[in-house]
Symmetry: C2
Subunit: 336 residues, 2 copies
């Protein structure tokens, strides 16, 4: 493995000069630079980023802590799209991504800070962790630059990217109301996600704006899971035949509701309108296709990476990015 020392020897200069020549410093004569470059190429040199990072105290890598990188979230291309977005932006800079493999067992052994410090990442992007995750406290307390996805926390080194979930949910429910629905249920996600609170708020606001009552018994918890939502809906829809529409805090849960409706012989959309949230790939392919609130997860990843790089380079004071949503009207909803 060639080092700058080798180049120095062959080119007949000092290692310092080689370092400077290679890094394009101005204080090196054109002649020596050329020779250095030539020798470097001849010897097939590639720099050792490890050594460089060690001395410069920055590694040009950003750490990724994503929760959904496992078999079970295959149905849900959210993690993948986010990753693609991050990758897209990072590809434009010369940073690399390191994917921390955080099994839950491992997490108990190693703290967030340790993970980042050990690998000496310059910053981190965290997605899909629950609000009760111990990592979260560390993120805020540590001084490691970090961008959170869908978790509204900031500090001098921490920012976040999210979707306007309140408005998104409000628009979804609003659309149902505009379609003549008055008895609208909500299948929300679990309490350990900020987006659940926000989507609940959007649901509430829409009803209030239409002077409709908020009825607690029309709100259920589907845990963001297709299976749980299906089970819950089975009971829920039987107990509340007065419901003509259900708003779901995720498409996956909406899929569960669709299944439950089929089991109960409730026709969607004739007897029940269903609206989801996310606009995952499957939403447009299932039958009936799903009316949903679309969020741009690719862009969230992209913006997260962009924000982190800006924080890293001190190029921004705004640490919050909020993206919009779009209502996609498909076959699972109908006017009454």
């Amino acid at each position: 493995m060639t080092t700058i020392k080798d180049i120095a020897r062959v080119a007949g200069v000092s290692v310092t000069t080689v370092s400077r020549g290679l890094n394009g410093y101005s204080d090196v004569s054109e002649k020596t630079r050329e020779k250095i470059l030539k020798v470097a190429k001849e010897l097939n040199y590639s720099p050792n980023t490890l050594a460089r990072s060690l001395v410069m105290n920055k590694s040009k890598t950003i750490g990724l802590l994503v929760s959904g990188l496992n078999k079970s979230s295959a149905k849900d291309n959210i993690t993948f799209e986010m990753l693609s977005g991050i990758n897209e932006f990072v590809g434009e800079c010369d940073y690399d991504l390191v994917l921390f493999s955080t099994t839950s067992t491992k997490q108990r052994e190693k703290t967030y800070t340790q993970l980042c410090k050990e690998r000496r990442v310059d910053g981190a992007i965290i997605q899909g962790i629950r609000t009760d995750d111990p990592y979260l406290k560390e993120v805020i307390e540590s001084d490691i630059p970090c961008v959170l996805i869908d978790i509204p926390l900031t500090s001098p080194t921490v920012g976040y990217v999210t979707t306007d979930n309140v408005l998104g949910a409000r628009n979804g429910v609003q659309y149902l109301i505009d379609s003549g629905h008055r008895n609208i249920g909500l299948i929300n996600g679990h309490d350990f996600a900020f987006v659940s609170q926000q989507r609940l708020q959007g649901y509430t606001e829409a009803l209030q704006m239409a002077n409709l009552p908020i009825r607690k018994e029309w709100i259920a918890n589907g845990e963001f899971s297709e299976e749980v939502a299906e089970q819950v809906a089975l009971k829920f829809l039987k107990e509340h035949p007065e419901l003509t529409a259900v708003f779901c805090a995720s498409d996956l849960m909406a899929l569960g509701v669709l299944k439950a409706a089929r089991t109960l012989n409730i026709n969607v959309p004739k007897e029940l309108s269903v609206v989801g949230f996310d606009d995952i790939m499957l939403a447009s392919y299932v039958s009936p296709s799903l009316t949903t609130i679309s969020q741009d997860t690719f862009r969230m990843g992209y913006e997260a990476a962009k924000l982190l790089l800006n924080i890293l380079e001190g190029k921004t004071d705004t640490h919050v990015v909020t993206l919009g949503t779009a209502l996609k009207i498909r076959e699972s909803t109908k006017s009454i």
Copy 2:
């Protein structure tokens, strides 16, 4: 940031002893070890892997070169599942993954070897590159441990993981023949993928085994793209009304064929049977759902990581892993 030097000072021992104590060497007294561990905890020490990697000349990271990490391959959860599989296995060891962001522009600047050497990854996994990619030559020539996915090349440091594509394709076509089809077309992928050759071979073998002729005009190139396959099928199906079945080298292309059939008012499966390959998520959700040859992409990723780690630790002589396929019969095929 605490270093072993700090620990040494506080604990009143030398850095050597600290290093040995922390790394669980036997030649350090129980008493000193305890003190070292205690001090390390007090000072909230985390080791600097950069420094360690530099001196040990191994980084405990493996590099990932995947092609499908972009917006366009969202429909196709193959890359994601593979990634999940890799992540799953790696999570069990204490390696981390480095995702190389290789835009095509960047690739022209930096060679594969450079990429790996610069980041000092211990090994690499490469997925989704074409057979004419210049990286491939480098992989074989360099001595960097590497596992290729779906590219049958080996060297003392290179292995690969693949699916038995020949058998898979043969089974798919065999199934069509068993269902009474005699005029079976093939929409193959582009020539720059080994799997195309193999799936073509499987198609050919199945026909030969049934003493059916191979007719070149029944074979078309869909470039592994849904759109291209759709365009091709539009022409293909019109020109060859004698075809009662089409075997596609990927589900995405099969989806394209389904669309084309719809446009041409050809009923699937009544007038035309369609078989895909891959069993992507959408295959079971589209209507009609797709009969396909299922391959376990998650497991491919898992096995690739496993194989690489084995190669790295010199624990294996077999550098080839071939996985099986399964025929999933759904709604897009029918006996005649």
